[in-house]
């Protein structure tokens, strides 16, 4: 039984920390895009727009029904064989697109549930003062749905951050990729993967703290 090489781990911490901005940037861009796309898909589903609704249903089914890694490989290594122009897309972009599509499908379902979770009386009240469906959604329903969906969406953000670790398979060196390459030279796998695990963990814990603070604030605003 060998002991942990603590000096090596201490030396590795700044190296992995150096990749936190890259991981967070990828995750944040994917989060914003997935949120926008997910909201759009949810609205299509709620309003049951003909034809588009069927397309959206298939889209959501596919991206929820296949592993993210498979989607990333399909997009990055597979599709360029069909459309050579796609090979111009670099690993970071491909990873962001993959994360966006994958998580938009999940968020669409959460947002749809949140919209449907807004009390019927709210729709009726909005209708009684002569609002159009678009106005009702924008002014009355979505703000309330956002509050219902917020905790779940924050959880997806945390999920996205952890999922960026798959980007290494597309040649992106983020936190996991950096740890993997360091371990290849030192053979100290336990140390390298422990360091990266703990840094992910602290990152997510910090975000959970922010999440709880935000939730308290939101509840305060709507306290009756």
């Amino acid at each position: 039984m060998r002991g942990l090489d603590l000096d090596y781990m201490a030396g590795l911490v700044p190296v992995i920390l150096g990749y936190v901005p890259k991981t967070m940037a990828m995750a944040s861009v994917a989060m914003v895009l997935a949120l926008a796309l997910g909201a759009l898909l949810a609205i299509v589903r709620v309003l049951k727009l003909p034809v588009i609704d069927q397309f959206v249903a298939v889209f959501i089914s596919f991206f929820r029904g296949t592993p993210l890694l498979v989607q990333l490989f399909l997009f990055y290594y597979g599709l360029p064989q069909l459309l050579p122009t796609l090979s111009k897309i670099d690993g970071v972009t491909a990873a962001i697109i993959g994360l966006t599509l994958h998580f938009a499908a999940y968020m669409a379902e959460s947002i749809r549930a949140a919209i449907l979770g807004v009390d019927r009386s709210q729709w009726e009240a909005a209708e009684s003062i002569g609002m159009t469906r678009a106005q009702m959604l924008r002014r009355i329903i979505l703000p309330q749905a956002a509050r219902i969906a917020a905790p779940t969406l924050m959880n997806y953000y945390i999920d996205i951050i952890k999922s960026t670790s798959l980007a290494f398979t597309l040649g992106v060196t983020e936190m996991m990729g950096a740890a993997q390459k360091e371990a290849a030279g030192s053979f100290l796998y336990l140390e390298a993967f422990l360091v990266v695990a703990v840094i992910y963990w602290l990152l997510v814990e910090a975000l959970s703290f922010v999440q709880r603070a935000l939730e308290r604030n939101m509840q305060k605003a709507f306290a009756r």
Binding site: V15, S87, L170, A184
Partner: protein, 257 residues
């Protein structure tokens, strides 16, 4: 008005100019000691020194792109990288698809087992009934599948960390190139040893796309490899990382300088 004229002039100038400096995008895994790995975030190894030396000779910019080994061939085909410096072995299948430079490493396939060789592997015949780890998409996977007793070998493919699984006793052996195994055994804390003699001569070279631009780049890089072989720089890089000169076929003497 003048735009087409300028464009024509620029084109003529470009075709008349000598081969200008370009950027060579080099794919590597960053996870194959001692050829490509990082230490304190610095990419290094035999392949890194080798490609930088090529860049010095040709005057080109060398840009390293790290990606998993199994994705590299696809990345080369789809023009995401220009070549692969990851001890890529020349095989007929790969030659049908890409154009190669001359070999810059001559090596053999080596079986490695846990220290003590309790599994009793001394030749490839002994691999029957054993589990053997190889890197996914590597030539060693092909070599194993080409053995007469391949049907009796439990071949397991990995993206990385194969020596770790042998050290932990999860698989009986792994196969890698002989020079790397010597370095891995020396450097890794894992209890490992070479089993038997190398069982296949392999020659490693740089692949390029089989189109006009790819062939032009191949020719330029190939000439640089000749230069590095003649001036002893390649042998020097080999000694530095492998404690041996593996850059010429066994039995061939170094050129007298």
């Amino acid at each position: 008005m003048l735009k087409p004229l300028f464009a024509a002039l620029a084109l003529t100038a470009a075709s008349l100019a000598p081969v200008s400096a370009e950027t060579i995008r080099v794919g590597m895994s960053g996870g194959y000691f001692p050829f490509t790995f990082t230490e304190q975030d610095k990419l290094q190894g035999f392949e890194v020194d080798f490609m930088n030396a090529i860049g010095e000779v040709t005057g080109d910019e060398i840009e390293f792109v790290t990606m998993s080994f199994s994705g590299q061939v696809g990345a080369l085909e789809s023009n995401r990288i220009d070549t692969i410096a990851n001890q890529l072995t020349i095989t007929p299948e790969r030659e049908a698809k890409f154009v190669f430079t001359q070999p810059y490493v001559y090596d053999g396939a080596q079986v490695v087992v846990r220290e003590g060789n309790e599994v009793g592997i001394n030749s490839t015949d002994d691999l029957s009934g054993k589990s053997v780890a190889v890197n996914l998409g590597s030539n060693f996977e092909e070599l194993l599948r080409g053995l007469p007793n391949a049907a009796d070998i439990d071949i397991r493919t990995y993206e990385s960390n194969i020596e770790q699984d042998v050290a932990l006793g999860r698989v009986d052996a792994f196969v890698m190139d002989r020079v790397s195994t010597a370095q891995v055994i020396a450097k890794s804390p894992a209890p490992l040893e070479q089993a038997g003699q190398p069982f296949s001569e392999i020659r490693n070279a740089l692949p390029f796309r089989n189109d006009e631009a790819g062939i032009a780049m191949r020719d330029k890089v190939d000439a640089a490899i000749t230069t590095l072989k003649e001036n002893g720089k390649l042998a020097e890089i080999s000694q530095k990382w492998l404690d041996a000169d593996v850059t010429r076929p066994a039995g061939e003497a170094a050129p007298a300088n």
